[in-house]
Amino acid sequence: MSRVPRILEVRTRILKKNDELARQMRQEFLAAGVFVVNLVSSPGTGKTRLLEETLVRLQAQGWRVAAVVGDLETDNDARRLARSGAPVRQIQTHGCCHLEAHMVQEHLKGWILDSFDFLFIENIGNLVCPTSWDLGESLRVALMSVTEGEDKPLKYPGLFNTSDAVVITKTDLAEACEFSPALARQNLEAVRPGVPILETSAKTGQGVAQWVEFLCRRRGELLQPNRAPMTSLRP
């Protein structure tokens, strides 16, 4: 008789471990009232710069914020972000091109989640690799800068299609780069119909207030709708 191999149906997600941890983290975040934002873009798009501005503005409104930032080797970004006064931790991945849920979890140890309203995760600068990894975030934001051209969404549909919002950064440079916001929006709409699109310049501050307002609105929709910032809750 022949040695017919047996076929076992497995039907399991390959990243099941990551997905399950991320789901558990998401539940903990929501239970603690932390709105978690995962920022993804190519290197140099302006994640850190926008985040610096965001942390400052949210704190000025009384929100309690924190950030973890992924970097291949350095802690430059963490030091920049820490100037805002917010608690910040660096995740050094030593060559790994994306963050995974367990890396975030390890770097949250010792922090009391209940003491934050927002947690930002700055992912490794990369438009491909972070796509498949759920970090337990409530909002995944893809950033593209005007210096990268309008067709980034068409070149990386996987990432843009799985993002909940898009920020076009460095709009102060748009004219110099002959960047067409209309074309960029058209391309984004093509790969992710209906995605909210914001435009910011962290340098001039243009659009940053709308971005912060967008974050607060999304947080409100997901968590207690009528919850005001800490200052008005605790005099």
Binding site: M1, R3, P5, T12, I14, L15, R26, L154
Partner: protein, 155 residues
């Protein structure tokens, strides 16, 4: 090269499934990779060989099925394959749709393991083998993560 991480998880998942089935080694893995999963089949294949070394999966053939993107159009009430992943719209009526039903999979579909008795004259019936049932539970449902491959069943 996030494919190395993916390959490592793949090998773990397959080894685990083999262990549960009482098999010492695996001869073939079948995986399903959605076009939107951002995993490149060639890169995965390359990394897989590295990740498989010294595991029950070492030497097993890797068969990759690429899963095309399918979207649901609420107007046509149909799930149809996209013409291009650069435009998410209904291939029938052209209306934009963000309702992706297939194409984000990153899944180990099945493994092949040798049948337990190797003698040519052994009875064909695989008496001692464990039942032909999925060794693990199905992918769980209701995960809000957009990459969960659960929503692929048609509506």
């Amino acid at each position: 090269m996030h494919e190395l991480s993916v390959a490592y998880h793949l090998v773990q998942t397959a080894s685990e499934a083999a262990r549960r089935a009482g098999a010492a080694r695996v001869t073939c893995l079948r995986v399903r990779i959605g076009v939107l999963s951002c995993v490149h089949p060639d890169a995965l294949e390359f990394c897989y060989e590295l990740a498989a070394q010294g595991t029950p999966v070492e030497g097993a053939r890797l068969v990759i099925e690429e899963v095309p993107v399918e979207v649901y159009c609420p107007r046509c009430r149909r799930q149809l394959p996209l013409k291009t992943i650069q435009k998410f719209c209904c291939p029938q009526c052209g209306r934009p749709t963000a309702d992706v039903r297939r194409g984000k999979e990153l899944e180990l579909a099945s493994i092949e393991i040798p049948s337990s008795h190797q003698h040519e004259d052994a009875p064909a019936k695989d008496v001692q083998g464990p039942p032909l049932e999925p060794p693990q539970e199905q992918p769980s449902q209701a995960d809000s993560f957009p990459l969960a491959s659960d929503s692929q069943e048609s509506v």
